[in-house]
Assembly symmetry: C2
Homo-oligomer: 358 residues x 2
């Protein structure tokens, strides 16, 4: 049973909004009956949709605005012109304390830019990152950054490791998540100088995570670690490559089976379990990427998802709010900074003073 709180919903974001958004909220309401929803969007469109879902009357309120951030809007443009948009208003509700988190299926770049401007980064976080779960042999693995930052430095990656670890603990319920740094070889000397620096920092820290060193592309699906840390360029390419590959394998299977009537006959019996496998790697199941490192819970749903996918994105927001993700991140960061400060020689004390006390 989830605690009672309100989530703010950008009801106009996504390819099939607001229809699938409202249907997704209806599905989520069954799973989380205590959660209230503040729907930001065009009242004229939302009211008839809500009227079709009677059970939503008690848990939804509409906040009217007729402005929408389009899918092709550039982030800078959205920031300048979108202050009355459903996206902006939905994020603002978190800032104002009216909602504990926000879910949008709208334009990713605009959502990140607005969220950064309105909510600001958590103290000590240089750049927020996009994090999501991916299916693996052992269950699920959190991966970040998935595209917020095309270029990252060592500090960013260390912060991603901390945020990813807190995310895995909250969403996967792990006590000590195993964290790996994506590289092109698992030996200590592989990859760039920057990655070796990140590896050393994580290895020497006393954070509540199990740092497993470098992992490779095939370790993602193998589930070698619970958190895969990488820059937004590599993470985005890897995620889309994995999605494209899974799709290709299923398409090859479909074509091959269609080509043979014996195989088609066999599939009458094998189909149900094969559909289970399709469902197991279904992107809808993993829908709902977290924008980690902001002063507030922000969940980005895939723009082309359906009601099931949108409900899963809401589910991720509920988990993050319920488990107080951001407090955990802040505590971990504080610990790391304190360790780093203690490791540094105190700059105020003249060397003589140090010698005198020995």
């Amino acid at each position: 049973m989830s605690a009672a709180f309100t989530l703010s919903i950008d009801a106009m974001g996504g390819d099939k909004a607001p229809d699938i958004v409202i249907k997704g909220v209806a599905l989520a309401h069954i799973r989380y009956p205590n959660v209230q929803f503040q729907l930001h969007g065009d009242e004229a469109k939302l009211k008839p949709l809500l009227a079709q879902e009677k059970k939503l009357e008690s848990c939804c309120t509409i906040r009217h605005t007729d402005q929408v951030v389009t899918n092709d809007a550039k982030p800078s443009q959205a920031l300048r012109q979108g202050r009355n948009s459903s996206m902006w208003k939905a994020i603002e509700a978190v800032k104002n304390g009216e909602a504990a988190g926000v879910v949008s299926a709208g334009n990713t770049g605009a959502l990140m830019a607005m969220a950064r401007l309105i909510l600001r980064s958590l103290p000590g976080i240089d750049r927020p990152a996009i994090c999501a779960l991916v299916p693996t042999r052992n269950g699920e693995t959190a991966m970040l950054d998935l595209g917020a930052n095309a270029e990252c430095d060592a500090r960013n990656l260390v912060e991603f490791a901390i945020m990813g670890e807190c995310f895995a603990r909250a969403l996967l319920g792990l006590e000590r998540p195993k964290v790996g740094l994506l590289n092109i070889g698992s030996e200590d000397l592989k990859g760039t100088h920057m990655l070796r620096e990140v590896s050393q920092t994580l290895r020497e820290s006393h954070l509540d995570l199990e740092f497993k060193g470098f992992v490779e592309g095939d370790d993602i699906a193998a589930g070698t670690v619970d958190v895969v840390v990488t820059d937004g360029f590599t993470g985005n390419v890897a995620l889309k490559t994995a999605e494209g590959t899974a799709k290709l394998v299923f398409e090859f299977l479909r074509i091959a089976i269609k080509s043979s009537w014996i195989a088609k006959f066999g599939m009458l019996f094998a189909k149900p379990v094969i559909l289970q496998v399709v469902a197991r790697v279904d992107p809808r199941r993993y829908n709902g990427a977290l924008f980690l490192g902001l002063n507030g819970i922000v969940v980005k749903s895939h723009g082309g998802t359906d009601a099931v996918g949108f409900a899963n994105a809401i589910g991720n927001a509920v988990d993050m709010v319920s488990r107080d993700l951001n407090r955990h991140i802040a505590l971990d960061l504080e610990r790391l900074r304190a360790e780093q400060a203690a490791a540094r020689p105190a700059p105020d004390v003249p060397p003589e003073a140090g010698l005198a006390t020995q």
Copy 2:
């Protein structure tokens, strides 16, 4: 029917060398009866293996050396200590003109380092790259760099595009290969400044390639382009992620089918076509990565491959030699440099002279 030439083989490279190497050569001999093989390695081990494959007597010669580059040797170490190794000698045979190309299943880093030192880069190529074919919806796509260069600049990527295009023309038989630059969005403004620079250079060039701009991770399996150009870090992660994902999907299928006797019954009929699909994405089929940009054809087989995979790697070497890959690369590079020189204002002419002629 292939032309007559000699390939040099590092008979001791790879996890199961020299056994699978000799078996691979035997398979390749059936396909390419005109090709001669110079086997570099331990005569005491190679002779008995050759004795088992009578048909190889006429096409193989042994060049004895008992030194081997180990799999864990660092490139620098291999360069210092490996001058009598089977790998070094096999590459040297290309340099000396005794062989038209070399195939090795040994240590990748050592092979690249030795090949660069012995053969040198093609004139005008800053850095060689690793290129291989990957399975796609439409057939096969060439991807590079797959790990030779963890960090690349704009010049490297432009050269990779040229080399990849020549590779696709030679190996896939395409007249005007479609080339895409891997990015995290297909819009012109996405990604890093460096990628936009590469995109502009390729767009403005008059090379014999069709530049399709940016492609994303899922475009690899979709076969959107014939050549995917990226840095060695991203390419290596994407390739291994794709391999890991395909493996995961098949494993999920195996587990699901095993769990249901009805599905197992159905699989009696569907299995042959499903095995066809497994074969279609089988890494052995795509074994044999090219080291592009060197003064010589160098093919790297996967270290853990079997005889079928090794024979495919030899097949790639045969194709590259037969189609005179390096001459095509040199011609394309020359054309690009001439274009770039023509576009630049001539530096010798003082500005006044220019004004006077107007």
